[in-house]
């Protein structure tokens, strides 16, 4: 089974700061890590490989230092790593990112399964995984919390919903995005870390993946970020005090106000 796992390097913080001028993430001075949701994707890929054989290829688009994330993936059991790095990719939105990743996946060639984390902890869009499947025209199942069964040409998975889960059957090849309930990622092994140290990730530019110039980077991104701001914190609610009759009357009046406005 040939599995491709798409990962992203993100700032290791829940306190993401935004440059007020450029509306982009401030990455300086913040340690970078593999997006936590992608760690589950890597683990699931490696577990499938351990069960069924084949190989796991991890791919990321990012600046040259994203190679660190690829090496970490190798230390966790991934076989091969591809880094897509080119100034032409800079400023990509989720559309352009998923286009670029899909072009690279086409170049990699035969695969049975693509696994992504459900979303990145910095952008939080959850759009790149589904975008890749659209660009490649393959089925997708999002928010997967368990792979119940998988064969050479089909998979049955549990897709998390707010109330419970759906059981979805899909032909392969397909794309899955996974949630944290799917597994517990392992720690690296020493042998894995030594392999990661000497590994040479493949590096591809826009030219290597024959990407369409108008579909990548800032120019290829239909999204325009007008403004990024932190929403004002919610004000505390109002507690009505007094007898039941008084409180219920007050409440009705307040609700009426809301409806009228």
């Amino acid at each position: 089974m040939n599995i491709i796992v798409c990962i992203k390097q993100v700032p290791n913080t829940t306190d993401v700061r935004i440059d007020p001028v450029t509306n982009t993430l401030i990455r300086e001075g913040v340690e970078s890590v593999i997006n936590p949701f992608d760690a589950y994707a890597i683990e699931e890929g490696v577990r499938l490989k351990e069960r069924f054989g084949g190989k796991v290829t991890v791919i990321t688009m990012g600046p040259p230092q994203a190679e660190t994330a690829l090496r970490e993936a190798i230390s966790l059991g991934v076989d091969e790593a591809v880094l897509l790095s080119d100034r032409k990719f800079a400023g990509s939105d989720t559309w352009a990112t998923s286009y670029t990743l899909s072009a690279a996946i086409r170049k990699i060639g035969a695969f049975d399964l693509i696994i992504c984390g459900k979303q990145a902890s910095d952008g939080d869009t959850a759009q790149v995984g589904p975008g890749i499947s659209a660009h490649l025209d393959i089925p997708q199942v999002t928010y997967v919390k368990k792979i119940e069964d998988i064969s050479a040409n089909a998979a049955r998975v549990e897709r998390m919903t707010e109330e419970g889960y759906d059981i979805v059957e899909t032909p392969l090849p397909c794309l899955l995005t996974v949630v944290k309930e799917i597994n517990t990622p392992r720690l690296p092994s020493i042998k894995g870390m030594m392999r990661a140290k000497s590994a040479k990730p493949v590096k591809w530019t826009a030219c290597d993946i024959e990407a369409d110039a108008g579909s990548m980077g800032l120019d290829g991104s239909p999204t325009r970020v007008i403004k990024i701001f932190t929403p004002a914190p919610r004000k505390g609610g109002e507690i009505l005090k007094g007898g039941t009759e008084y409180v219920s009357k007050e409440l009705v009046e307040l609700l009426k106000d809301i409806v009228i406005h």
């Binding site: 392992r186 720690l187 690296p188 092994s189 020493i190 042998k191 894995g192 870390m193 030594m194």
Partner: protein, 384 residues
């Protein structure tokens, strides 16, 4: 302090520290309370390759030595010295095979130990043979192509959980200490049984049981080296393993100090953190200094062994004595700094005090260690 570790040793230490902090610390109190054997942690250690750090590469290990074993033991012990014994006790059981095993024995047993697929244990102590190891009674009688083992080993670390046991037994009673031999006995061997699990003061996550041999037939190919080598093998094994006990003690001491420091910074009395009081500061300073000295001595002894020194008996014993006495003192002081909280089982510090005590007792009491140190010093002085 920078101990000039190799790149691989830094990797090993950091991964062991990560496992200690993320996987062991959250469950240390649970295993201490329930006295269960922490198999889920053993699985994590196995998957991380740490069981193989001191085993040569040709047998599936990472090719390091006693120093690497010490780094892992220290980090794991910082979180739980009992759980760490699953690792360190396996090392003790594997060392006789590493030092004296035949090529065939090494190929048969070391790869599984390196992978963490099988734990190991070392069996020498008996009810009447503790510090006086020469009075062991477990016998091994040659019969055809086998040895028949009879006798009871006591307080065996990892017993019942481990699958590979190195056992010291008497093959020729008439020869006294020269009549002992070492055998490898596998868990499923008929005639090998385990006593009940001992209830202990500390290191309660570690399994300690009797190992009982009743007409236990061990193939002659499992004899390590040759008949009569048992005590030499045992002595050399302890010379190699004692820095591991020292490392365990350093880890316990460091874990206790870390808690004491954090508490001292945050505990407010008389309107200020107690870390601002000189009485507390001086205790912390002594604890930190003694731990660093113990660590330096431990690493020096481990490196002396790894460098191939002819004998490191004295240095090994020095490291074991100094580090274990330090652990006991530091743990007691850590409880003192936490005061009433330190005495409560709800807080982790009293466990360090209970765990520390064993390091002064096992693998040769500290009194026996001082005998070894003095005997070697006197011998060296005569040679001059």
């Amino acid at each position: 302090m920078d101990y000039l570790l190799t790149e691989q040793q830094v990797m090993i230490r950091d991964l062991a520290a990560k496992i200690a902090d993320e996987k062991i610390k959250p469950v240390a109190a649970h295993y201490d309370e329930t006295e269960e054997f922490a198999w889920p942690i053993m699985k994590i250690l196995a998957d991380s390759d740490l069981f193989g750090v001191y085993i040569p590469e040709q047998y599936g290990g990472l090719g390091g030595g006693i120093m690497d074993m010490c780094l892992v033991t220290e980090e794991l012990s910082r979180a739980c010295a009992g759980i760490a014994l699953g690792f360190a006790g396996t090392g003790l059981g594997a060392i006789p095979i590493l030092l004296y095993g035949s090529e065939e024995q090494k190929k048969r047993f070391l790869p599984d130990i390196a992978k963490g697929k099988r734990l190991a244990a070392f069996c020498i102590t008996e009810a009447e043979a503790g510090s006086d190891a020469g009075s062991i009674k477990t016998s091994a009688k040659k019969q055809g192509n086998s040895y028949i083992l009879n006798g009871t080993k006591q307080w065996i670390t990892n017993a019942g959980e481990a699958e590979v046991y190195t056992v010291i037994a008497i093959t020729d009673k008439a020869k006294g200490a020269r009549g002992a031999s070492a055998f490898i006995v596998e868990k499923e061997t008929k005639g090998m049984d385990f006593g009940k699990k001992e209830k202990k003061l500390g290191i309660r996550a570690s399994a300690t049981r009797e190992v009982i041999f009743t007409d236990c037939e061990v193939p002659a190919e499992n004899l390590i080296s040759k008949e009569g080598m048992g005590f030499i093998i045992a002595l050399k094994t302890f010379d190699n393993s004692r820095p591991g006990v020292a490392a365990q003690a350093v880890g316990i001491a460091q874990g206790a100090l870390d808690h004491a420091l954090e508490y001292a910074r945050t505990r407010v009395q008389f309107g200020q953190p107690i870390s601002s009081f000189q009485a507390v500061q001086h205790m912390l300073a002594d604890m930190g200094t003694q731990i660093e000295a113990a660590r330096a001595l431990t690493y020096a002894a481990a490196r002396m062994i790894d460098s191939g020194a002819k004998s490191a008996a004295k240095e090994s014993a020095m490291a074991k004595v100094f580090a274990s006495d330090t652990a006991m003192k530091v743990a007691v002081d850590a409880v003192q700094i936490l005061g009433g909280y330190g005495y409560m089982r709800e807080y982790p510090v009293e466990k360090y005090m209970r765990d520390a005590k064993i390091t002064q007792i096992y693998e040769g009491t500290n009194q026996i260690q001082r005998n070894i140190i003095a005997a070697n010093m006197i011998k060296e002085s005569i040679k001059k």
